[in-house]
Symmetry: C2
Subunit: 311 residues, 2 copies
């Protein structure tokens, strides 16, 4: 471990500063927003939305995950997973105080981690995070950033316009029978949510066809398509719904569900009637292409009210 | 629809007879046991165990599902799915009153059903069964048999020796960390059981890696192997447990979970440490080969106490 990453060690930001940062309002963004970018297009959608609101952004793409071609359109600094010290130094130089963590990040192996000095000091916390479910991993990483003096904010907080709205998106609508499947699906996800798993499931005709765990939504949808093809699921086309929700009581700053044009393509191949998500708590990637794809495929997409929304 | 199947219509057995049959004890089997056979080896294991207890059996293999070569060792009559009238006539001729439904039966398509007169009269019940989850399908089919004057008994009731015993099976044992995963897995299955889904899941290091729905246990285990290979799950080999349980409050006469030598092979390829099931409520196919395979693969197999057992 070399010295450079420890130039601004995490404890250089004192408690008083941290408290002041915590109470800063998102509505008055005087500092550029730091965006730690995993894979996919969503980090750039967040960056664009934040810039449209008049706030500057600095990207911190994760080496091996973020799209190298796309980062060129923004100020950026590459970091490796585990380089909290390097991140803290660069983000401080850029004047960032708020940080968004967004994009895909399949649980990295220990050998993929580039641990630096700033991270090493928090190793016990990180090791604990690695032991639990995904929630623990992400919120553990979040705590490491917060311990370094940054405030973690949710993508849905800095750019609510990138989340699914309440009601139908596009021109198709679920019928009453599908509404029942949607209710059943969300109830199932709620029942499982204390197990830190299951942000998605497929229900058709009251029957649960698939539940997502470590494989992810894409693989789950592909499984439905394969089971239909093999005759293991015998249903007419255009039946069934993908339900997707944030886990209950989860810190939404770390792992909001997302859907995009590719979700439509896979749901279509799975023979589903549509997709139901939680309004305001689901990121829609490339919304224009997404809605066009849904309309063309004949799939409904509907945002249901958030059961955890504050009144 | 032709007449022959209606020779002994379902209502030929009156209520008085049915009540008398229902109170007959399994311990005094004066009549041969009818075994409606789906796919796999388990129907024959049940037949052999029942014969060893001194009771005669008559097999009713389901065309398209049952193993045609294996039925030759027993008295048998082929039937098609949906031919309740034909079954009732033949079973009455054979003097059967108790019937076991056992073996694999992937939800058949409507066009695979050979509906006969005895079945047609109960079509509304069958259609209702087809709409719900698997429980509804199987218990619906069971009610059709019972309406025809037969008593449905569970394979675990007529041949308890074919189910997993309490404690370890074979020579390997789960360690304390795996015990926690087992507890977590059974708690997850219990939480999902009101949704008529999820008789199995894979847990490793407190993390839920996969949950079974329509794809079945084999496909779920193969998914774990594929995710490990693709680097989506990063765990050393020999970590994680397959938990399998009957759904809560389900009528166990219809769909008891089963494990066999093939389960060991797939769990081994998935890199798991072992398998946990509910004692007395899980059928073990080919127990000799099963235990040898587990010992050779280094996998533990453990039967946990039945949370629904009557004291």
């Amino acid at each position: 471990m070399t010295a450079p990453d420890a130039i601004v060690p995490s404890d250089a930001v004192g408690d008083a500063t941290r408290d002041a940062l915590s109470s800063a309002s998102i509505d008055t963004p005087t500092t550029p927003l730091g965006i730690v970018c995993g894979s996919g297009t969503i980090p750039f959608a967040v960056a664009d939305a934040v810039r449209r609101r008049g706030r500057q952004v600095v990207l911190f793409p994760l080496r091996g995950w973020a799209d190298a071609a796309a980062v060129d359109a923004y100020p950026y600094h590459w970091i490796a997973v585990g380089q909290v010290g390097r991140f803290a130094r660069l983000a401080n130089q850029e004047g960032c105080r708020d940080v968004v963590l967004v994009g895909g990040l399949v649980r990295p192996s220990i050998t993929q981690l580039r641990l630096d000095w700033g991270t090493l000091k928090q190793l016990p916390l990180i090791v604990r995070s690695f032991r639990g479910g995904d929630d623990h991993l992400l919120s553990g990483v979040g705590r490491v950033f917060e311990n370094s003096g940054f405030r973690i904010v949710g993508a849905h907080e800095v750019a609510p316009e990138i989340t699914a709205p309440l009601g139908p998106l596009g021109r198709h609508r679920p019928d009453a029978a599908v509404d029942e499947d949607i209710d059943r699906g969300f109830a199932l996800l709620a029942a499982m949510s204390t197990f830190d798993v299951g942000q998605a499931a497929v229900i058709a005709g009251r029957r649960v066809l698939a539940i997502e765990a470590a494989e992810g939504t894409d693989a789950m949808l592909d499984r439905i398509a394969a089971m239909r093809e093999a005759g293991r699921i015998r249903l007419p086309d255009g039946v069934g719904v993908l339900v997707k929700a944030p886990k209950r009581r989860q810190d939404r700053r770390f792992d909001l569900p997302s859907i995009g044009p590719d979700t439509i393509a896979r749901a279509g191949r799975a023979g589903l009637a549509g997709i139901a998500v939680i309004a305001g708590a689901t990121i829609v990637a490339e919304p224009q292409r997404f809605i066009e794809a849904a309309d063309r495929a004949g799939l409904f997409v509907v945002g249901r009210p958030d059961p955890e929304a504050r009144a």
